[in-house]
């Protein structure tokens, strides 16, 4: 079964007079329960591809399917609903809402979904414990370290039990220890809950964890290979 299917995706950007190719006829299929890394230098198109998969950005042409839903033809509101219920996001650091505490950040998505209060509380306790943040539930983002903030973001992404989590450079602002912890967390979530992970990164520490490593350059997929595990990473 496929979690995501992309067919012939194209996307160009205009920067001044220059036309930049974001995606150049990219076709790819992501299996359910897989753990995939999109790698490549800046401007290679990995973030564009990730955004397209998450329904944050629409391609100029091509098709994207997430589960049974075709994203590229959906309206703004329907896309928002899709993101809200089916996809978890983890961005670069500092993507928490600064006026909300750790718990409130986690509950935020569920609250917008309309999950009942008791259930929200139970879930947020559970996921915060799962990411190792017991006792820090009521801290504001400014009172947490970068790694802790990123774990709150992960907790938020998985709180609504999505089948798919998309992460864009999740370790960009983290030290090695925090980065390793975060990746270990991703890995265990993938193994225990069967959540599909797609991570865009140019951090080699992250690539080691991937079962499938896709390399991109100039909007093209230049390699796509399965790997064993993270054992090779020190």
């Amino acid at each position: 079964m496929s979690a995501i299917i992309c067919k012939e995706l194209c996307k160009t950007f205009h920067q001044g007079e220059q036309v930049i190719t974001g995606l150049d006829h990219v076709s790819i299929e992501i299996k359910k329960g897989s753990f995939t890394c999109l790698s490549g230098p800046s401007g290679s198109g990995k973030t564009t591809l990730l955004n397209a998969m998450g329904g944050l950005d629409t391609p100029d042409s091509g098709e994207i399917w997430v589960g049974d839903t075709r994203l590229d033809t959906l309206a703004r509101g329907a896309l928002a609903d899709m993101r809200l219920h089916n996809i978890g996001f983890v961005f670069q650091a500092y993507n928490l809402i600064p006026v909300l505490s750790a718990r409130e950040n986690v509950e935020f998505v569920m609250q917008v979904q309309g999950v009942a209060k008791g259930e929200r509380r139970r879930r947020s306790d559970e996921v915060l414990a799962e990411v190792g943040l017991q006792g820090m539930e009521d801290r504001l983002p400014s009172q947490l370290s970068g790694g802790q903030q990123q774990r709150v973001a992960v907790a938020r992404a998985i709180a609504s039990k999505p089948k798919l989590v998309l992460a864009d450079e999740p370790t960009a602002n983290l030290d090695s220890k925090s980065a390793a912890e975060l990746m270990a967390l991703f890995e265990s979530l993938n193994e225990q809950h069967g959540i599909t992970f797609v991570i865009a990164t140019h951090d080699v520490r992250v690539m080691g964890y991937a079962r499938r490593l896709i390399s991109m350059r100039d909007g093209l997929i230049i390699s796509d290979e399965a790997q064993q595990s993270h054992s090779m990473v020190v």
Binding site: L56, F89, N95, P98, L100, E104, Q111, V112, K117
Partner: protein, 410 residues
Amino acid sequence: MNASWLVVATLAWRNLWRNYRRTLIILATITLGVWSMIFMSALMRGMVDEIVRNGLETLPGEVQVHAPAYRRDPSVVNSMAMPDGDFLQALGESPVVAWAARVRVPAVISSERDSRGVVLLGVDPSAESALGSAPDNLVEGRFLLGVDDKGVVIGASLAKRLETSLGKRIVLMSQNPDNDVADRGARIVGIYKARLPGTEDIYVYAGRAATQKMLAMGEQISEVAVTADDYRAVQSWYPNILEAAGDELEVLPWTALDTFLSSMLAVQDGFALVFMVVVFLALSFGLVNTLVMAVFERVREIGLMLALGMKPALIIGQVLVESLYLLGLGLAAGNIIAYVSIRALENGIDISSVAQGMEMMSMSPVLYPALRFSDMLMSTAVVIVLGLAASLLPAWKASRLDPVKALTKT
């Protein structure tokens, strides 16, 4: 839906205090605006109330009944009979609280030193008091004792002009229905001061029966003045009197008797709204500016919320709720300060330095601000409705942000 609005409400509230200086300044702006709306309305209401009340006191009454030709030609020949039958009965029915039958004719009053043209009022002192048109400030002597009282009560200013005083005799001159000069000597039994010195020169009070005898007009009277103590409600009971008085008489409410007074009321109601809208427009620039800034600073966060799947409608809601908090807090503070400041000035603002200018507008030299619930309500409505309308644009802009671009904005 409820839960998501709750999160919006929480977010909006906390966002408000991230930049507390800006929030406090805009709150001060809204408070000042709301206070000025209510305070200014209260001053204007006080002013107009005063003008209308003074006007009705000398009119007097809220409804008057005359012989049809009287108002054009206020002469003794254009008189009417005392109310009887249905008419008399109607005058006794609620909401009428008092009525007075009066003789009112132009006359000349002479002392041994000088003469003046005046309006001679033949009144029943008890009815006049009930009507509220008897002079309320007698500085010397007494008011009339009954319809047969042979004395007269004149204004202090008139007494000065005539170089006469309490207890002295004056001569009243007018004409009787046969066109002959009717005159009688009378003693001054009382001297009054009026709120408006102008009226002191004009009105001379005498007993009604004594006046009827002097003018040889039998039991006839010039007018019936009726009051129900609430000048704004006159239209509700005026038709009763109109019907009961019959076709032979002219029955008019004060709005028709004194068009200046009624137009004052209408203009003032309109002006209060114009003033409120103008003040609001002046402060709306600051409000919109604050919201634009608030959205601008939070572009990344808004992008994040959109990326997480928050509906654009909720983003609009969030900005509107934030605006609503500002408006609500400003309104509360403005209303409270307005209430307190108006209550503090309830005993009147002394404006005697411009007393004669005020007299030109039929006002006395003390201004009583009149706080009205409807003005507080109107200012609240203006601020909320226009405030939300003004917030729509920044809110809509925020909801249209592209999450990808917004997220990467530094």
